[in-house]
Symmetry: C2
Subunit: 217 residues, 2 copies
């Protein structure tokens, strides 16, 4: 199970395929409370349940769903050990914007039900199918082209990207791990136009650019 806080986010999850365990509400008028899904609690009780400094008047508990079967007829995004909750949240929001339905994460990637991740997704979590798995064996089994992002890869501006495939993004500090990297045949990069001493781009910025390139081509 996982916790969702905030009226807008709780409504998004209630309106989605997620199954509710219980919604705790401190102000009765916020929802149609006619089902057993809801329970009226005091503000003090809500504050005790909440992980926020300023608790919202609603806190929802939902079941973590089984990941759906992946449809390889469109692009699938894969994350190798993305650790920052804000980055994962932004990436889920980007998947939703670009209609990427499936996100596959390595087992060391930050939990997508972490409250900071949910906060950064702005409700997009309800529309992206997210699973965690051993990436080496996952990538070993797929039969669509696998693209990975590397500083030394070919410029994505000069690539002709197919209509389906897998895009692998790496860890914030170390990029894509060596075991995984060795299995990736299509190494791509975002060309740099500034001073050569520039740090690499943030993984969420890079994902934004690659997903845009995938959809525009």
């Amino acid at each position: 199970m996982f916790v969702v806080e905030g009226i807008k986010s709780v409504r998004e999850f209630l309106d989605s395929h997620y199954k509710v365990v219980k919604i705790y509400v401190s102000q009765e008028k916020l929802f149609d409370m006619n089902t057993s899904d809801f329970e009226l609690v005091s503000q003090k009780e809500l504050a005790q349940m909440s992980g926020l400094h300023s608790p919202s008047p609603v806190l929802g508990v939902f079941h973590i769903p089984q990941p759906k079967k992946i449809d390889f007829e469109d692009w699938v995004l894969v994350l190798d050990d993305v650790r920052d909750p804000g980055n994962l949240g932004t990436i889920i929001r980007l998947c939703d914007w670009y209609g990427i339905k499936h996100l596959v994460c390595s087992e060391q990637t930050v939990d997508c039900y972490n409250p900071k991740v949910l906060q950064a997704t702005m409700g997009s979590s309800t529309r992206v199918n997210i699973g965690y798995t051993d990436l080496a064996s996952f990538l070993n089994k797929v039969d669509v082209p696998v693209f990975g992002t590397f500083m030394s890869g070919n410029s994505v501006h000069e690539e002709s990207l197919p209509s389906k495939g897998i895009l692998v993004m790496g860890n914030e500090a170390h990029g894509i791990g060596k075991t995984i990297a060795d299995t990736i045949l299509n190494k791509i990069s975002i060309p740099q136009f500034g001073d050569q001493t520039t740090e690499s781009l943030n993984v969420a910025s890079a994902t934004a650019i690659f997903l845009n390139e995938i959809r525009r081509s």
Copy 2:
């Protein structure tokens, strides 16, 4: 003046055109301390100066430089009230990556010398000229094409972008303010491929995509 913490960031500022006021160091061997720019202090003194929970062994104080004259022969990025330090830091890093030399911020945009901004820029601040001004009068005076990002704008995938111009990005919650919006003739957007209920993209993600589009065209 402003404060920079962390060995890597302090070195980047020391190697740049920024003028140093003083570098406080708790471990002598970290720098060549032969000039009066350096002062050896105890770890306790450094902890008292630092804004971090785990202070770095070095803290630098630098002069805020005068903004340089803007070169309108290339693209210039303009921010209308970007408030989140992480977003501004990421945007400065993107400017550095894409060789955007000039960033013009509205007076309500978060301070680019805010420690959280400097932390997110990863040293890119030293290579981007950043100024704060009244945007309405700034945009009134320029004679290059002005592009602004709006949900209802034309798809950037179908625009033929010129080799120079101004790109205006708006506030996280409200986008570009009405007074400014009325003066922008070229309204552009990032096409959405997912579910129509998706929130807009984060301003840093959107900036990543637009700067990539500017440089690829």
